[in-house]
């Protein structure tokens, strides 16, 4: 990484390892994952359910429920500070202030017995020297910023009086109230109606540009990735299997899993095209994390797997400018199939 880039880096995660201790054994939810986010940049983390995307985000925020989970290795550096070595009080000063998070479920992520305004005011008063009145005014201003109509009135309302989309807007207002350096959005639109999804996404990206916030967007929707992200990480069974710029990834995916994901994306069938085309799927199922094969976790589902794939885990190799993939057959991967 060059020096100019390093100065611009908001978050730098190196070799992060998070494990869960369960009755059925220990499993590595996040295994040796590294990535970085620059100021104003959007990094997308993509993968199927259970691939470790959300746990990666929670590990960065130090919100992994312990027990059963624990971050056991690696480093998380936010604006030069190693978050994993901070004590609880220091970490509380950072959470909601320099780094904040939007969750998947707007219906349940707001406290049902607190007014919307109070919930935003709380984060402001925790991190900034403000009187109750100033904080309330700022909360109303934040609600206006996320385009909630009649923000003064809405601030006095409780979550159950707001629709799902409104609640997610309120969550965004809360997350951005202290102008964090990094925002993590964990599937922020999954629980919303399709018509609202695009609005919320556009809002997040718009505010991110205005405020210069770094953004980690966790999603399983490649369409969302193509619209919003600059760089993409593809995760599979707790590991990073590919990383590239968004253009490069869509033009030239190197990992068979990424290719499978793209092939299973429904495309809008243009007029006159063959309409009986069947959507591709990746055969098989995501392996259980407690019982991973010794080699590449994707090998059992991979049409290109060889004996070596089943025996040894492939290292992450640089296959082009800023493009990395963990596959033994990466050299044979030419242009997109």
């Amino acid at each position: 990484m060059t020096e100019a880039k390093a100065a611009d880096t908001v978050l730098d995660v190196k070799n992060l390892q998070t494990v869960f201790f369960t009755n059925s054994g220990l499993f590595r939810a996040v295994d040796d994952v590294s990535f970085s986010v620059r100021r104003g940049e959007t990094l997308a983390i993509v993968g199927e359910s259970g691939c470790g995307k959300s746990v990666t985000a929670l590990s960065v925020m130090r919100l992994v429920p312990d027990p059963p989970g624990r971050v056991v290795g690696g480093s998380v550096t936010l604006e030069g500070k190693d978050l994993l070595s901070l004590d609880e009080a220091e970490m509380r000063n950072i959470c909601g202030n320099r780094i904040s998070m939007i969750f998947q479920e707007p219906m349940t992520s707001l406290n049902p017995v607190m007014r919307i305004g109070d919930q935003i005011t709380e984060v402001l008063r925790l991190h900034q020297e403000m009187t109750a009145k100033e904080a309330w005014a700022k909360a109303v201003e934040m609600l206006r910023l996320v385009r909630i109509p009649e923000p003064q009135r809405r601030a006095h309302e409780y979550p159950h009086q707001l629709s799902g989309g409104m609640r997610q807007r309120a969550m965004i207002a809360m997350a951005l109230a202290c102008r964090p350096a990094l925002l993590i959005a964990d599937e922020p639109t999954t629980a919303l109606d399709v018509t609202i999804q695009a609005q919320i996404l556009a809002l997040i990206v718009d505010l991110q540009k205005t405020l210069g916030t770094g953004l980690i967007l966790i999603t399983h929707d490649l369409g969302v990735v193509a619209q919003t992200a600059q760089r993409v990480i593809v995760m599979y069974a707790g590991k990073k299997v590919e990383e590239a710029t968004v253009e490069d990834l869509f033009e030239n995916p190197k990992h068979p899993y990424t290719r499978g994901l793209m092939a299973s994306m429904p495309a809008v069938i243009s007029f006159g095209a063959k309409t009986d085309a069947r959507l591709n799927e990746i055969p098989g199922m995501v392996p259980s994390l407690t019982n991973l094969p010794p080699g590449c976790a994707f090998a059992p589902r991979c049409s290109l797997a060889m004996d070596r794939c089943r025996a040894e885990y492939p290292p992450l190799q640089e296959t082009g400018a800023d493009h990395f993939a963990a596959c033994w057959r990466v050299a044979e991967m030419g242009a997109a199939p």
Binding site: F103, S109, V123
Partner: protein, 315 residues
């Protein structure tokens, strides 16, 4: 909301009317009245004397007339005369109310101020030694009858301090007043404290798993703020329900405790009056307790709406 309150108040009256009939009938189903008891104690029976006394007390009238005269008097604030002391029932009951009210109030204060924080602690440190200890202690609170606990407390006081707190209507010192009221209040409130703790714990455990708790942590809220401001306020509704029910149960516990600690409150008086079939005292005391229970229930329902904005009473 206003219409709802009016309807609730009307329902309360209906409930109290039902209770008045039940208590009136039940009392008269119990064999013997005060005249029987007095004459049995004297050892001989002169039927004319007995009939005269019954007539004097109005016990010879048909049961519906007895009921009507009681209710009629009650509506005018006339509670009748105690058969035993021959004083107005109101005069007998009124001075005893503050004693029991203090005991019950202290017991409730004790059970909530101990039970709720310990329940929160237990839930927050689920699976820890503290949690197990608190759960064992609370289990003992649920299984020890309050008269047994009361006796243990008295015996402990004697063996530790050489004397036990004895009721005195005009305690000389603050400490004496505390000993007189607080010790029996704790003995009777231990059970409610244990129950409150257990309900708080299970309710908190459920709430602490909710998404909005994670949101609060992500905001950088302190542990205390997460546990009390965010979690407890959501977890408190079932606790309030239980405290409301316990407040009614408390009366039963107080009967025993007032007897064990020899405190001249309402609850002990009720038992004595029952033994003498002192109808005016028993009827009016039970009605008083019924009013307290009904009003407590109403207060609990109103508290729901005050605490949880999602609960609104429509028409």
């Amino acid at each position: 909301m206003f219409a709802y309150i009016v309807r609730r108040l009307a329902l309360m009256l209906v409930t109290l009317f039902g209770i008045s009939i039940i208590i009136f009938v039940l009392l008269r189903v119990v064999p013997g009245n005060i005249v029987d008891i007095l004459f049995d104690a004297a050892g001989f029976v002169d039927p004319t004397d007995k009939a005269n006394l019954e007539k004097e007390l109005g016990l010879d009238l048909p049961i519906y007339q007895q009921y009507l005269s009681w209710i009629g008097g009650l509506l005018h604030g006339d509670l009748g005369y105690s058969y035993v002391s021959e004083k107005p029932a109101l005069q007998e009951i009124l001075p005893r109310i503050p004693i029991t009210a203090k005991l019950a109030g202290l017991a409730l204060l004790f059970s909530t101020s101990i039970g709720i924080p310990l329940g929160v602690l237990s839930a927050v440190h689920q699976g820890s030694r503290l949690d197990y200890t608190l759960r064992v202690v609370s289990l003992s609170g649920l299984s020890l009858p309050s008269f047994w606990l009361g006796l243990l407390v008295l015996m402990a006081a004697v063996s530790l301090f050489g004397h036990m707190p004895i009721y005195n209507p005009n305690p000389a010192t603050w400490i004496e007043a505390f000993a007189i009221y607080a010790v029996p209040a704790m003995a009777v409130g231990f059970r409610s404290a244990a129950l409150t703790m257990r309900i708080t714990r299970s309710s908190m455990l459920e709430i602490l798993r909710q998404d909005f708790i994670r949101t609060a942590r992500a905001k950088g809220a302190s542990e205390a703020s997460v546990n009390y401001r965010h979690a407890l306020k959501n977890a408190i509704l079932p606790v309030i329900t239980v405290i409301g029910i316990e407040a009614a149960f408390l009366i039963g516990g107080l009967i025993v405790t007032e007897t064990v600690f020899n405190i001249p409150g309402v609850a002990r008086f009720l038992v004595e009056a029952l033994r003498w079939r002192d109808y005016p005292i028993v009827q009016n005391l039970v009605m008083l307790i019924a009013v307290v229970v009904v009003v407590t229930n109403f207060t609990v329902d109103m508290l729901y709406a005050a605490i949880d904005p999602r609960i609104r009473y429509g028409d």
